[in-house]
Amino acid sequence: MYQAESAGVLLRGGRAEPKGRNARVPRNVLLLGAVSLLTDISSEMVATVLPIYLVFALGASPLQYGVVEGLYQGGAALVRLASGVFADRWQRYKQLAVAGYGLSALCRAALLSVGVSVGAVSGIVLADRVGKGIRTAPRDALISLSAVPERLATAFGVHRAMDTAGAMLGPLVAFGVLLAAPGRFDAVFAVSLCFAVLGLAVMVLFVGDRRGRAALDRVVRPGLRSTLRLLRTPLYRRLVVLGAALSLVTISDGFLYLGLQRQMDLELTAFPLLFVGSAFSYMVLAVPAGRLADRVGRERVFVAGYLLLLLVYGALLVPDLGLTVLVVSLICLGAFYAATDGVLAAAASAVLPEGQRGGGLGLLLAATTLAKLAAALLFGLLWTVAGLTTATVAFAGALALATVVALFVVAARRPQEGHV
């Protein structure tokens, strides 16, 4: 009942492609994309109204909510790693992903229950984030195991495009519901629950489970130790180091938007548009970037993505930047995500043994997430001590240096060595 092939043609924009199985986006990847799209509509609907709900309906001080969220950030990375490792150990990628999606769907139902307090909502938000942490690594492992090795980056690109589409649709749906029923947050939560249940249904009913063949032959079952031992594999280690090092010199989006907004002297209400602009660019460019990565090399596209980020930093240093520069910056920021997020997962999948994709992807995710957290702290500190311009120049310099080194590292490899 699901026309995977024709949908695949649509996603490729009808361009001429070499015939054969490799040209198609696997049905399982599209299904996982559909799951993410539905789930993201559901979670972004809630994320959009939650601050107003807490303060308007529950009378919370917003700062209370911020504390909970902040505390969780570091832990999230470790949940992802653990979930990936367990998925490998049991070779149950689908079941763990289902558990993660299921937990998030339960959280929507919990929000609907009567007599919800500020503390309870904070708990629900936390549980929802744990659910997200649980599903990420097994889901990425499933994507990687569903695609042919030559088209891994395209597969991840398709998934990320659908995922981002959901993130952009969510707030619109929430807005529509509240327009029909002003002030009725319960209606938003009910509709959100329905999208979550639909996503879960697609996951349970249609997404096919995949198992890594290699691991089944092993005597020793994969665990945390064997996952950490993956770092001895030179190709994988290089990706982890590359990913973590570049993340360490990345200015977080929050600071980038703040910087652009200050530089432009933008109206405060235009702030959310910055996010929408870059998300739209990410959505449109995710598939082309993935296809390019499959053709010319994933590491190259990944590093090239950071060159685009460097352009955005440059814009931060231009005094009085105009609207054109801002729009180009936002396109570049979206393109940066398109060239790095899914592409890095694809590159890692290509060098990881099939049975250890969950743990390997989880570890890579944990390393880059923690590096980004450290970068955010460092940038904030530098801004405080030396000012915005100096902090930006320092990060731009460090990023330029890191990117040049990364370019040499990547270029030193011959393309014959495989699609990485």
């Binding site: 993130a167 327009l179 002030g183 929050g254 702030f271 959310p272």
Partner: protein, 343 residues
């Protein structure tokens, strides 16, 4: 169709019916709200006491004058916001709803008012500038959730503080505050306090974690006081609108409110726990700091009712307390919050 396909179609139908039905029912409900929160004047509002402040530790708080409040209903917050005017004094009092304004925060001075209200969409807030007859003269959208609103004594300037959350891809869920100065005549924001030059002694300072809130204006239409949080400290700052600058004065002063004579600020002081505040009054020249007799934690930007009385809300009722630390707090209005003393 396969069995799985049938199950999926069934689930989809159930979801569409649940979602559609819920939204439909909610949209019908939303139009038929009849009950509204009503502001009540406390039955035993104390009579005006002519004794000057400080004349006795136990003299009751002096409560007289007109107060603008917003109605609140502790049980159903969707009924909140209707603006009402209460007249207090000599043991009698009355409260009347004025205009059709419904605000999350409201303040007014010299026939110029500022109302932070939920937009019809239900997902964003708008600022409304209204006149002496509570008619909206200008409005503009707000970023974030209303936290504080203040109008300068002459009605020339306004100040709005909102809570802003991080975007999905940014540091998730982290809240920060935005404070903007409003030109009440032109009906639009003119400056973001984070863009003002900040000085601590002779040093110019700047940090990404700058958060301003709780502006209070002096009578000269230029000087203001506010709170600046940075590096884990909350400072009282004194600023100039014309010169676009602020100067850090003193630590641990939040939501200052300048007395009508301009010599003192009433504020909430954080004590120990993260969300635990006590009301204090600080003499600006001498630095003398007095704790008020309200023992509960109060999260409000308080208001002066004359030079001897502080009024404030606890999101259910409006209370009054002596500004010199004596007496006991008295509840003066029920189902009311966000009090403004009208002069």
């Amino acid at each position: 169709m396969s069995k799985r396909g049938l199950i999926f179609v069934a689930i989809t139908l159930a979801c569409v019916m649940l979602a559609g039905g819920w939204v439909l029912a909610a949209s019908r409900d939303a139009g038929s709200e009849t009950s509204k929160a009503r502001v009540e004047v406390e039955a035993d509002v104390p009579p005006t006491v002519s004794a000057p402040p400080g004349s006795g530790r136990n003299a009751p708080v002096r409560v007289a004058g007109r107060v603008l409040v917003r109605a609140v209903d502790a049980r159903d917050s969707r009924l909140n916001g209707q603006v009402a005017e209460a007249t207090l004094g000599d043991g009698i009092g009355s409260a009347t709803e004025v205009g059709s304004l419904a605000c999350q925060r409201v303040h007014m001075a010299a026939e110029a008012g500022l109302c932070l209200a939920l937009a019809p969409s239900g997902v964003e807030y708008r600022a409304r500038i209204f006149d002496g007859r509570f008619k909206t003269r200008a409005e503009f959208p707000l970023t974030g959730l209303p936290s504080r609103a203040r109008v300068s004594p002459s009605g020339r300037w306004g100040a709005i503080t909102t809570f802003v959350s991080g975007d999905a891809y940014a540091e998730a869920g982290e809240f920060s505050t935005r404070t903007t100065i409003i030109d009440m005549r032109a009906g639009r924001p003119i400056a973001d306090l984070e863009k003002f030059e900040a000085r601590k002694g002779a040093d110019r300072i700047d940090a990404p974690d700058f958060n301003f809130w709780g502006v209070t204006f002096a009578r000269d239409d230029d000087t203001f006081y506010a709170t600046l949080a940075t590096g884990g400290e909350r400072y009282l700052v004194k600023g100039s609108i014309n010169e676009r600058r602020v100067e850090l004065l003193r630590k641990n002063v939040e939501c200052p409110s300048l007395s009508p004579d301009g010599t003192r600020v009433a504020y909430k002081k954080r004590v120990g726990e993260v969300e635990d505040w006590r009301l204090h009054v600080l003499e600006l020249d001498s630095g003398r700091d007095v704790a008020l007799s309200e023992r509960r934690s109060i999260d409000d930007q308080v208001e002066w009712l004359g030079d001897g009385t502080i009024i404030y809300g606890d999101e259910r009722s409006v209370w009054a307390v002596r500004a010199d630390g004596g007496g006991r707090p008295r509840r003066i209005l029920r189902s009311a919050a966000s009090p403004t003393a009208l002069r």
